[in-house]
């Protein structure tokens, strides 16, 4: 049996010939992403005597969650502190307000590449697996990684999710990823890597693949990966901050489990409260009234997501009882949406379009829900407590969210598409 790409990348990072599942390995990291580094810098103060991060080129700060624009004196001071301290410790890349969601930026701006090893303080840091980068979240330990450039991993077995077929009109990558997550379950990939393969996955763009790699964390996985292909290499042209050597699976790699899925007859899916892995057929919740709809987040702010939403919204109006918030993933994606006329479609439909950041995924900036409100969105998470007292959050494709915003209730989008 051959080795999986996850084990091969770890072996390379640990400068070892072979790594076996279950082994604890210490690897050099190529990138560290931080979304709210203020308390990491406080850790530096607590430790005392810290002069700089291990390599300023490899540390990236993007305060995308809390501080898109400071909403209070406290936030304003925090943002100032983050920038000052980042500069003090030699961090080269500090993304300012409106530049976008860190996970999109890490890939878009070439901070990661096929075969790289990256860690991040945000739990959705499994995202960069969409280009074949081994990426995984850490949190408290990031302080240490920032100083040493090293991280430990328990080498994981790999679950292969092999997806074949072509989806029907109105069924998007989010529907497929949501279905897969439901099949894996909230702890179905605990301490494992998940590789997404098959002709369906390889037909998708890098950004649509990212929905799969990113949502791996909602199944408890350590890594979510797509083996690099021509699409990946084309996407990477001129992008990576460093020359790189991609890592591929050996022929006939050893998987701990293989899940085979055919999407030819798949119907639109939805995640119902209280957790992202609670997948149902959209048809089961159609008709549920909503007060807020959200197109954005690290699983729905891509240019293709905005195109899907615009397809539904073109020439239509958002229901007066609903707030529709559209948040592009990055400034570049925002620019592209403007050039394609999508922003005009959203504006005319009565949606709010904001600069690029994490949006109302959590109640940290704007778009808070009132008590008892229901929201449907393209973002990754719907856990209770996440948006105040509101426990009624549904997750679905951009088509479904847009159609629901028009109708004021959860709606099957297929009637809205030509």
């Amino acid at each position: 049996m051959g080795r999986t790409m996850a084990l091969k990348i770890l072996a390379r990072g640990a400068k070892k010939k072979e790594v076996v599942p279950g082994e604890i390995v210490i690897v050099d990291v190529d990138a560290v992403f931080m979304h709210s580094p203020d308390y990491k810098f406080k850790h530096f103060e607590q430790i005392g005597g810290v002069k700089s991060v291990f390599d300023g080129e490899k540390v990236v700060i993007c305060p995308d969650h809390h501080h898109f624009l400071p909403a209070s004196q406290k936030d304003a001071n925090t943002v100032k502190y983050i920038v000052e301290q980042g500069e003090r410790y030699g961090v080269k890349y500090i993304y300012g307000p409106g530049t976008g969601i860190g996970h999109y930026l890490m890939v878009e701006q070439g901070h990661v590449w096929p075969g790289a090893i990256a860690v991040g303080s945000d739990s959705h840091t499994t995202a960069y697996g969409c280009i074949g980068c081994l990426s995984s979240p850490m949190n408290f330990e990031i302080t240490e990684v920032m100083l040493s450039g090293k991280a430990w991993f328990k080498a994981p077995p790999t679950i292969l999710v092999k997806i074949e077929g072509t989806t029907k009109r109105g069924v998007s990558a989010r529907d497929v990823a949501q279905y897969v997550l439901g099949e894996l379950g909230a702890d179905g990939a605990l301490w494992s890597a998940v590789e997404y393969g098959g002709s369906y996955i390889h037909s998708l763009s890098v950004w649509q693949r990212m929905i799969f790699s990113l949502l791996t964390i909602e199944a408890g996985g350590t890594f979510g990966l797509v083996e690099p292909d021509e699409t990946t290499l084309e996407f990477m042209k001129g992008r990576a901050k460093k020359a790189f050597e991609p890592v591929y699976n050996d022929p006939n790699p050893e998987y701990s489990k293989v899940v085979e899925i055919d999407v030819s007859d798949l119907e639109p899916q939805v995640a119902v409260p209280p957790q992202p892995s609670f997948t149902k057929l959209l048809a089961e919740v159609v008709g549920k009234p909503i007060q807020q709809a959200y197109i954005g987040g690290c699983t729905g702010g891509g240019i293709e997501d905005m195109r899907m939403a615009a397809e539904v919204l073109k020439g239509r109006k958002v229901n007066p009882g609903v707030r529709l918030i559209v948040v592009p993933g990055t400034r570049d994606m925002y620019g592209q949406a403007m050039r394609e006329g999508l922003v005009d479609v959203f504006n005319q439909a009565g949606a709010l379009v904001t600069p690029a950041y994490c949006g109302p995924c959590q109640q940290l900036c704007v778009g808070n829900l009132a008590d008892g409100d229901t929201e449907i969105g393209t973002h990754p998470r719907n856990l209770p407590g996440r948006a105040g007292k509101a426990t009624s959050i549904y997750l679905a494709s951009p088509y479904t969210v847009a159609a629901s915003a028009v109708e004021g209730k959860i709606t099957d989008p297929r009637a809205f598409l030509p």
């Binding site: 308390y39 430790i47 949190n139 408290f140 605990l190 109640q363 998470r381 007292k389």
Partner: protein
């Protein structure tokens, strides 16, 4: 770290929770930034109101599968210390919550089956040795075992977290460079 780690024992009254207790439940986003003293009043409120009123120093949380899944949140670990929880043991623990717990020196362990042998209010003992995580229900005598955690991680827990270790290492560097 060449520290030899001995046996460690935690004992206290159990508070039981179900499966998939996530970090939004443990550390609700709305209260997270108000400081731990405020946050602790809201910990677990989505599933158990006023949990903090029931907790006495040294108590142990016993939970089902995938404890601590969801967002990365240091407060979701550190609030346990402020509440007075001495250890958490669950059928399984989400990877991030586990790593954070170890790194912060707040003990969190997995022992499959523990949720089946413990009821609310039972006296529970968690024994951490080189060979296993041994959980005993003192009230009923029932026992379950979890896989041991690696030496390197036990030394972090012992030191009280990675910050303490880093500080010690930097001190050591300073001493040797003089």
């Amino acid at each position: 770290m060449e520290t030899k780690i001995g046996t460690r024992i935690y004992q206290g009254k159990a508070h039981t929770f179900g499966d998939s207790i996530n970090t939004d439940v443990i550390s609700p986003g709305r209260w997270m930034r108000e400081g731990l003293e405020v946050l602790k009043l809201h910990t677990m409120e989505a599933v158990r109101k006023d949990f903090y009123k029931d907790v006495n120093p040294g108590d142990i949380i016993v939970a089902g599968r995938n404890f601590g899944c969801g967002s990365h949140r240091e407060p979701a670990n550190s609030v346990m210390k402020v509440l007075g929880i001495s250890a958490i043991v669950a059928d399984s623990v989400a990877r991030l919550y586990f790593r954070n717990g170890i790194a912060m020196g707040i003990p969190v362990f997995s022992a499959p089956g523990v949720s089946k042998i413990v009821n609310e209010g039972d006296e529970v003992q968690v024994k951490v040795t080189e060979e296993a995580i041994e959980v005993t229900n003192i009230t009923t005598g029932a026992k379950v075992f979890g896989k041991p955690i690696p030496e390197v991680m036990r030394s972090v827990v012992e030191a009280g977290g990675i910050l303490a270790l880093l500080k010690a290492e930097l001190e050591h560097e300073k001493q040797t460079s003089l």
